[in-house]
Amino acid sequence: MPAVKSLDELRKLKEEALEKRRAKTTAGNIQVTVAMGTCGIAAGARETMRAILDSIEADNLSGVVVKQTGCMGMCEMEPIVQVEVGGAPKVTYGKVNTELARRIMKEHVVGGHVVNELVIPAY
């Protein structure tokens, strides 16, 4: 890799992240999962994923783990996003465009309130 950006710079960022982690008292592990099968991607899952990563950067949300998964077998509900906060049961959202993704990040991931009208009920 050409030395475009240095590992020294990365080391500094890592120290800061570790510092933040130590300072944090409420250690609620948050996981956000986006379904990325062909249907999901065709329905815009990629933009949805992008919006989620952007909101982590923009709002400086430390401690959120973003994952992908393949097809979830619900083509008509794509893009699908799942949110798991701490020990609470996994919540599955359907038809999550970028705007709704930002809303879920704000209300559920940051605010701790499930966005009920977007939940796929019988999942």
Binding site: M1, R46, L53, Q68
Partner: protein, 192 residues
């Protein structure tokens, strides 16, 4: 799909689904030969000859939730419509190499699209996979290997906000530096 980068995302997802530990995504733009070549290579579970033959046919998939695999046939059709091809080399237990090429200047060729976005999202969302990304254009090369980064980070997540920024900028600057050298070559050849 309107972008090659989205197809690459889809193809790489197949490699992930095949339990690959190492995945390489290479993009090679050759303006002089007028070719655009992409390779996705993995060491996942692989396919036998019969499966490879059927995978390029739209009525094949190993998945149970849906009957039709779309990713590969769609990309193959797009490439063949642009004087290109799609080849799969695979061996059970060893891995798969998918190669797809377009005539770069073909009027129907879809744009490369957001390649950095594809790389960035795969890298962050599948942290357990060792990713190697390569971009080449007219003599320049950017090679990204995530191993030293992950080694440095230890158990600090790639989705930490500052790390996301670092990764995105690393990929952006790397690709840009190659495209820059491509422009330079172009400019000097115009002078000559």
């Amino acid at each position: 799909m309107r972008e090659i980068a989205l197809h690459l995302l889809d193809i790489a997802e197949n490699s992930v689904a095949a339990c690959a530990r190492d995945i390489t995504i290479a993009v090679d733009e050759d303006a002089r030969k007028d070719r655009l070549l992409m390779i996705v290579e993995d060491n996942g579970k692989g396919m036998d000859e019969d499966m490879v033959a059927r995978v390029v046919d739209p009525f094949v998939t190993s998945r149970t939730t849906r009957k039709v695999g779309l990713g590969i046939p769609l990309l193959k059709a797009a490439a063949e419509g642009c004087n290109g091809y799609l080849h799969i080399n695979s061996a059970v237990g060893r891995g798969t190499r998918l190669e797809v090429e377009f005539q770069r200047s073909h009027i129907d060729r879809m744009p490369l699209g957001d390649l950095i976005g594809t790389w960035f999202e795969l890298l962050v969302a599948w942290p357990q996979i060792h990713w190697i990304f390569r971009y080449r254009a007219s003599g320049g090369e950017f090679l990204f290997d995530d191993a030293p980064i992950k080694k440095e980070l230890g158990d600090v997540s790639l989705s930490e906000p500052s790390i996301l920024t670092y990764l995105r900028e690393t990929l952006q600057e790397g690709v840009k530096s190659v495209q820059k050298s491509q422009e330079d070559i172009h400019a000097s050849s115009q002078i000559a």
